[in-house]
């Protein structure tokens, strides 16, 4: 594997190999000396065109625990406004002898485009409203830690699907892993063409959580709803959204007692998720953060250790 650009690029075997590796990597988090040697002498650049302290820190820790040199380059608001092209920015950074670029960009497809310009490994840390494959991997890791094998497990993903790279990557990866996904959102926040995706679609959260819509739900993933969506007229008020699509205590009770609740963070308490749900024993939010480091270690290890591609 040269790059990780889309969760859809992962075969079932490759995805499982990453999750298995992540489980091994998880052990290092409990050790006194949190350091493994395999990426010694390798340089990883976190190239973030959009601020994200969480994802950047997670990749930074993952790289450092594998002994790589990790450098953060914040390129927010660069290129377009400065007259520099994205290509210039990226080639400048890559020219510094970089082994891998971890890229976050606010435009869909930006990371794939960058991968076409450089020789080093490229990891998509979130591109616009397209994909966020390591988030999907950490979600799968978290789900697996609670549910075991995800084959035929049923996961509801609720919220702003249209603008969610998390949802897109999760739909692809969970389908690859054999899980069933039901997307839940108001019609205004459902992407065009969603019916061709490998999942079910519903507008009614209660029907889904109670199992009426598409069978019992084993886990629910709540997506962050950006408050600025209101000005786009996607829904009338926060109040109405919370009532229609928020994970209230009552809706939490519709779920099976063991069904985990995931949220990619940061949470809007009182909007998409109630504090009761966020703080319940089923909430996996902190486990997701831990899993993020393990999964990113696994991805970095699997991309960067081992022989580079051999020219034949």
């Amino acid at each position: 594997m040269k790059h990780l650009l889309s969760a859809g690029d992962l075969s079932r075997d490759e995805a499982l190999a990453i999750l298995d590796t992540a489980e091994r990597m998880h052990a290092v988090q409990t050790r006194e000396v949190k350091k493994l040697p395999p990426l010694r002498g390798r340089t990883i650049v976190n190239l973030f065109f959009e601020d994200s302290t969480r994802t950047r820190s997670s990749f930074e820790i993952a790289g450092k625990w594998l002994s790589a040199d990790v450098i953060n380059v914040s390129a927010e608001g660069s290129s377009v406004s400065k007259g520099e092209s994205l290509r210039d920015t990226v080639l400048t950074v890559a020219a510094m002898g970089v082994d891998a670029l971890v890229v976050r960009h606010n435009a869909s497809g930006a990371v794939a485009r960058i991968a076409g310009w450089v020789d080093c490994h490229v990891i998509n840390a979130g591109d616009g409203t397209h994909e966020h494959p390591t988030q999907a991997l950490l979600d799968a890791y978290t789900l697996r830690s609670r549910l075991g094998d995800l084959t035929d497990r049923h996961v509801a993903i609720v919220g702003d699907i249209t603008h969610s790279r998390v949802a897109r990557s999760n739909v692809l990866l969970l389908a690859t892993l054999g899980a069933r996904v039901t997307l839940v959102a108001p019609p205004t926040l459902m992407p065009s063409g969603v019916h061709s995706w490998p999942c079910d679609v519903s507008w009614d959260l209660d029907d889904v959580l109670s199992g009426k819509a598409s069978g019992d739900v084993d886990a629910v993933m709540m997506l962050r709803v950006q408050r600025e969506r209101m000005s786009g007229g996607y829904f009338p008020t926060e109040r109405e959204y919370a009532i229609s699509y928020g994970l209230s205590p009552e809706r939490l009770d519709l779920l099976g007692a063991d069904a985990p609740v995931l949220h990619p963070g940061p949470m809007n308490r009182g909007l998409e998720i109630s504090s009761v749900a966020a703080d319940s024993a089923r909430s996996m939010v902190l486990e997701q953060v831990q899993a993020g480091v393990s999964v990113r270690m696994a991805v970095l290890y699997r991309l960067l250790s081992g022989a580079d591609e051999v020219t034949v």
Binding site: M1, K2, A17, D20, T21, R24, M25, A27, R31, V33, K35, L36, P37, P38, D119, Y301, R302, S305, G306, A307, D308, E309, V310, T311, V312
Partner: protein
Amino acid sequence: MPGRVRMPSEATAADADSGISGTSRPASVVLSDADVARVTDRIAHQIIENVAKNDFDAVLLGIPTRGVPLAHRLADRIAVFAGVSLPVGSLDITLYRDDLRLRGVRPLGATAEPEGGIDGRTVILVDDVLFSGRSARAALDALIELGRPRAVQLAVLVDRGHRELPIRADYVGKNLPTSPSQTVRVLLAEVDGRDAVLVEGS
């Protein structure tokens, strides 16, 4: 970078030190299942003799893949012969290998600390084959991250010679003179369905 590229192939953790390649070559059986049992017993006796001096304050740490079942077998035999049960753990050395960049990406084995940890105790590393000594070196590095043992020893089922590092085993089941081009395969029932040691090639 012109030309076609090949994805790095997946190597298994187990094949590295024995030098197994994917192709099968004519193999001769040098230890039968009965031989493996006898040799294991001999190592168990040697360990008992040695660690008895320290009130059996020792642990067995198997190196995946085949070092782990081997460590469990040794613990079982020691329990039979001496009536003491030594804690068993596993120590994956993949991330500490010096040839990570020379081969395809490797899956990781399990690291499990033995009950009571390793600090201040005698750690006996258990592996199936001792060849170049590079696995043992990697294991020593990996061990340091886990804690500070009082002493570290090495037990192997087969020592086939051709050392490339100043390393020797404390317990050797069988010294097996080989040529560098040969490969030695240790089969264990827990992994391979049967016990045997094979030498392939000439």
